[in-house]
Symmetry: C2
Subunit: 305 residues, 2 copies
């Protein structure tokens, strides 16, 4: 396959950059790949794993001559990095990112970029609860969505080229407005994560229920929450700080609804509970039909061997 970009620079070399580098290497999508990471340890690991052809201790060096620059750092680190690299970007280059919020990323990176580059924010809906360069794998994006949120005046060819890169890495590509993206993700990801973190924190607090019991008997539902709540703390801190309004709005609605169900439990209103639980089952069916999960029974059981 012909390379889609001649030179690609990753800013940040964690789970997502590592997976992109592997996928792009496997499919021959880049002529050359370079990367910058803040710590020497990560740079060394990335080189040892053969993720990129070269690593750089400064972001400015990494982006030199790059046709595609991808910000793969937590959202809170993007603005400073954008300031640093802006003077060194190649004219005509495409600048993208993989951040989980898009409005804040556009505000953080956009204003610093020179006029002669193409800024195409993107968000691959893929990840695991692990982090770091070792955690990446080439098939991470297979059958997953990558949402692009370009601004209205962005060069259409640059958007299509980036979309093709994601498709060649196995992703399905969609476009939407950044604010809409942030609301959708508040529902499908940000609020669920905060809720999972909270429930796990509550269990940790309960001294009456000893830690080993909560852990031993976790298979009954709690276990899935702990997997979600094991995700990278820095990344998630930045998600909540940067998608504040939408997340708080969804959490507000969640709390209202939770109170209503708690009241049903207190009053012993079995019909309300039954109707609610029946309705939520239908959404599950929709997800399986949309190919976003399998119908294979999974909850409550796992092959430990």
């Amino acid at each position: 396959m012909a390379a889609i970009y001649d030179k690609v620079a990753f800013l940040g070399l964690g789970l997502i950059a590592s997976s992109m580098a592997r996928a792009m290497r496997e499919a021959g999508l880049a002529g050359w790949m370079g990367g910058h990471a803040r710590t020497e340890k990560t740079r060394k690991t990335a080189l040892e794993l053969g993720l990129v052809d070269a690593v750089f201790s400064t972001a400015a060096e990494a982006v030199k001559d790059a046709d595609l620059v991808v910000f793969c750092v937590p959202v809170g680190a993007m603005e400073q990095l954008a300031r640093e690299v802006a003077p060194h970007l190649k004219a005509g280059a495409t600048i993208s990112d993989v951040g989980s919020v898009k409005g804040a990323v556009i505000r953080a990176i956009g204003p610093h970029l020179p006029k002669d580059v193409h800024f195409v924010p993107a968000h691959p809906l893929a990840g695991t609860e692990h982090s770091g360069p070792e955690a990446g794998f080439a098939s991470l994006f297979q059958n997953r969505w990558c949402l692009m949120t370009p601004l209205p005046d962005t060069d259409e060819a640059a958007i299509r080229r980036l979309g093709m890169l994601w498709e060649k890495m196995g992703a399905k590509v969609d476009r939407m407005e950044a604010g809409h993206h942030d609301l959708v993700l508040a529902v499908t990801s940000h609020a669920p994560h905060l809720i999972a973190y909270t429930m796990v924190g509550v269990a940790d607090d309960l001294k009456r229920v000893t830690e080993s019991e909560v852990i031993n008997y976790s298979a009954a539902g709690f276990r899935d929450f702990t997997r979600i709540a094991a995700s990278d703390p820095t990344m998630w801190r930045d998600v909540f700080l940067n998608n504040r309004e939408a997340t708080l709005e969804i959490l507000g609605r969640f709390t209202e609804e939770l109170f209503d169900l708690q009241r049903a439990i207190r009053r012993g209103d079995g019909q309300q509970l039954f109707d609610y639980f029946t309705r939520t089952r239908a959404i599950r069916r929709g997800i399986i039909e949309a190919g976003q999960d399998t119908g294979a029974p999974d909850f409550g059981r796992v092959d430990i061997d």
Copy 2:
């Protein structure tokens, strides 16, 4: 292997009874198995699948001469069934159940039983989001816990015999007091389920975020909630109605904690969020070390093929 019980009767022929019957058949743990289900359709399916040797349209017939009777119906249906079968139980028989709450089960079944049977409530922490006799499989209990909550004056030999049955089906067995069980399960299962149901309900309500977007982009965390929220509505209605106090207490603590984190987001207190998310990661490690899940990255990705 020698049968542990000569004649076994299942009251209810859904996911759990079906899995028990398959596991017991595979390992030769019962000489004969019979079952009762409320609907003719379920009885017919159970026979066609070869789950049991005979089905009965009344529970009274099913328990005749049985050495082990297992209540495998939603908790709310147990009391009426206990009344029905009590006069027909064999002297010296063991009576057990698989309900997710134990205090309420003991109150529902206990008072109706004759003095000459052994009542050993039990709860296998195993299940899937599917229900019905077709959903069962023999390995469901492998490496899962079965918690027994016998009353203090119960015959020790009867408790051990039932424990051995569960061990031969692959489960690990533990004993605890019924009230303690209900609190532990409120943390590890009941509160997480209500929370998952609520979050899925909120997503369903949001007309601004169209259904197809929530479904398409569910892989980002929400998907795991929908699996939990696809569990059997009748069973879960009964769980909440019958473990009311413990569930409401845990939900109360959850809400307090959630409000605290919401405030941190509103104030932009990144340190509080980071510290909280770091703490919850440690619990995940404990669960993997306890063999209740694998460390394999799973979240956010699934093989659809």
